[in-house]
Amino acid sequence: MLRFILRRLFSGVVLVFVISTIAYLLLYLGGGDIARSILGESATAATVAQKAHSLGLDRPVLEQYFGWLGHAVTGNLGSSWFTGQAVSAAVSARVGVTLSLVLGATLISAVVSIIIGVWAAARRGWIDRSVQLLSVVGVAVPGFLIALGLVTVFAINLKWFKPTGFVQFASSPSGWIATATLPILALAIGGIAGVTAQVRGSVIDALRQDYVRTLRSRGLPRNRVVFKHVLRNAGGPALAVLAVQFVGLLGGAVIVEQIFAIPGLGQVAVTATSQGDIPLVMGLVVVTAIIVVVVNLLIDLLQGWLNPKVRLA
């Protein structure tokens, strides 16, 4: 078990390293005259050169990269070129907001899609067909359209929730519910659709397994077999989809945060990239990659718990 975790952690570190290297090199090779764009058109050539020097932009790319990497491994991701704020501070102030949305949406997707997926698989018939159709539509409709629809109906017309802004749960739970419900829902609907289709499919597969008949032949009620044995066996494939969904939700959060004006990672990402604030963009890439690696590791561990054969691997 420990070796498994260590090996996965190691490959995760390698992945983060590779991603950040590629990102860094691409960003620098493609970057234009950054000092000029920071200072604006009116700045003189001398001040631009001075700015470039103070940012270290006049050094060779590789030297700059190893400098960045050396700091990055100690947790120092540099500071924003435009605001001067430390990247780690800028990111960590917002990562919680985004994670609370994405994790909330992931949890809701998992719970709701298990309920609907098992229901559709066990009942079949028209319930199953409607669930299938709805999940195809839910997967197909882009998340931001769902978000727009939710805002229009529930915030602008019905005024049940706030259309924009964000209140931390710690400072006001009711404020959090008023501001976070719609964004989480907007993210969750697509996730629910995707995971439901998978849960349904793998529950149907699992229900056809021989051991289901054998367990029922020993006098176990059908529902008990479905919820204990079938669900556990169907859980593996469903979790794999959930992992993919999580990456999708992280991306979806960028757009949803814009719509609801939520100060999360997505907002920083949009500003930083439109300004060309490379240290900040790098910080975002690294943090996102780390989040993805950690979530995948957690899901692998869950897989191992669900299916003992995986543990041997």
Binding site: I19, G30, D210, Y211, H229, V244, V247, G252
Partner: protein
Amino acid sequence: MTEALSPGAPAAALRTARIPLFHRLLKTPVGLAALSFLALLVLAAILAPVLSPADPNLASLQDVSARPGPAHVLGADSAGRDVFSRLLFSSRFSLAGALVTLLVAAAIGVTGGLIAGYYGKWFDAISSWLTNLLMALPGIIVLLAARAVLGPSMWLSMAIFGVLLSPAFFRLVYAAVTAVRNELYVDAARVSGLSDSRIIGRHILTVVRAPVIIQASMVAGIAVAIQAGLEFLGLGDMTIPTWGSMLNDGFANIYKAPLLTLWPSLAIGLTCVALTLLANTMRDVLERSSSPKRRRTKAAAPAPVKREAVVRHAESERTSATLGEELLVMKELSVGYTQPDGSVKSVVNDVSLTVRRGEVHGLIGESGSGKTQTAWSILRLLPEGGRVTSGSILFEGKDLAHASEPDMTRIRGRKIAYIPQEPMSNLDASFTIGSQLVEPMRVCLGLSKREAKDRALALLGRVGIPNPQRTFAAYPHEVSGGMAQRVLIAGAVSCNPDLLIADEPTTALDVTVQAEVLDLLRTLQSEMNMGVVLVTHNFGVVADLCDRVSVMRDGRIVETGPVKSIFAHPEHPYTRTLFDAILEDGDARGALNPVPAAVAKETPSE
């Protein structure tokens, strides 16, 4: 971000598609609707310059947020531009953007998949690693980062997104190619001297064509969505009209002119849904045509309409006198499966049999003769779609054919138990053997955890497992097939059943183990004085274990009676054929199960 198809889309099955996919798609309502919508959309995009009443970028101050009317069919946006014209031109750019993504993704993914799949080796490792890398980052973050570097070009962004989506094609093609790489016809082509590129072109491309088209439809939908998303964020190229930028404008004015968000939303939503539904329908159509009746392999061929008389052998007085009361009386039982078209296909017809306490009743016949279906119907555990269509199954005065599900749950395990054919697939791989034994005992006998565990350990010992403690804690994949079958026997008898249904309990086992398992069954049967229905295709097993036997063919019993009598005077031609098969080949089915247990015991192992 990448809503990739499972690479498991059955490539070999898709190959069998003969009637053009397109024609069959048009016959399904969903396929027709999706295709028509997309055709109209493409037409509108191509004809945009002709159809547009106004220049899509022409701003007019007096028309700002104009309501729909004669001047502007769908109104005007916040800059006074004609919404209808913008919508038409947006279709152009949005579709073209999606096309760029699609082409890039398909070019990289299909080529990479073909090469990696066909040549294998190190190319495999590298490309699957790259694929994982691409899957690990949210696409939109990469696109934003790229935009920071390369500037706001829609075409470039869409091309990069194509690279990010290429794994969707890669995995699909790779899986399909590795599946056919070693097929005989590809080998034949190689032997006959065709060059690799010709083999790939002729044989392999035809296999992956259909799944690639399906995946293309999915990817196009994702591309439309992400492109609209970027433009909606205001991160696209603002100089060209797209659905996303129209949505951006509409959302900024949502309080003043809510209708402005409606049209682009509809365009984006409908396009994405149409593309995804199209992909799903294509897959359904292909799967349906390639596998008309999977999972029904156990079902017998339609039974002959003519009812022939069952050959009944007279009871010898000795047998009926020494045996106990009637446990199970099955009368003219028929089992059928509801077909997709609503008809019922019969697999068991008018089967009558009686099992007394302490008696072993063999049910013998070829694969597909309906013996297993008969066995399952006693437990009322027929696969989906199957049911008892007529007749009765009397057990302790109750008709099981019409008993309620809760009643059946109470009877299963406690009164009637079941030993399956294939030991491994009948144990749940996710739970320990012990927990699978303990759970039913706690439910059926109301034992405490402690008591159930003790009983389970005792049972494991009883069925001849050398180290019960270890097997109890083991997972199914950690024990051998013979051990697993013993575990299943222990589970079947754990709640003291009166009737045991054993469905070819030794077929999947090694010959030497078969004999031991048959011995065990015989001992347990006489110890617990159970009635047994023993399904088998092996007359050796019948001779060894059964008191009475019924021969089944095409879902009917053709001959029935005491074993001795049938062995002495087989009357029905089919019974004789079964006997002849043993004499000639050793077994009716082949090499699996050749010796009666008594002989097997004398054969030295290995």
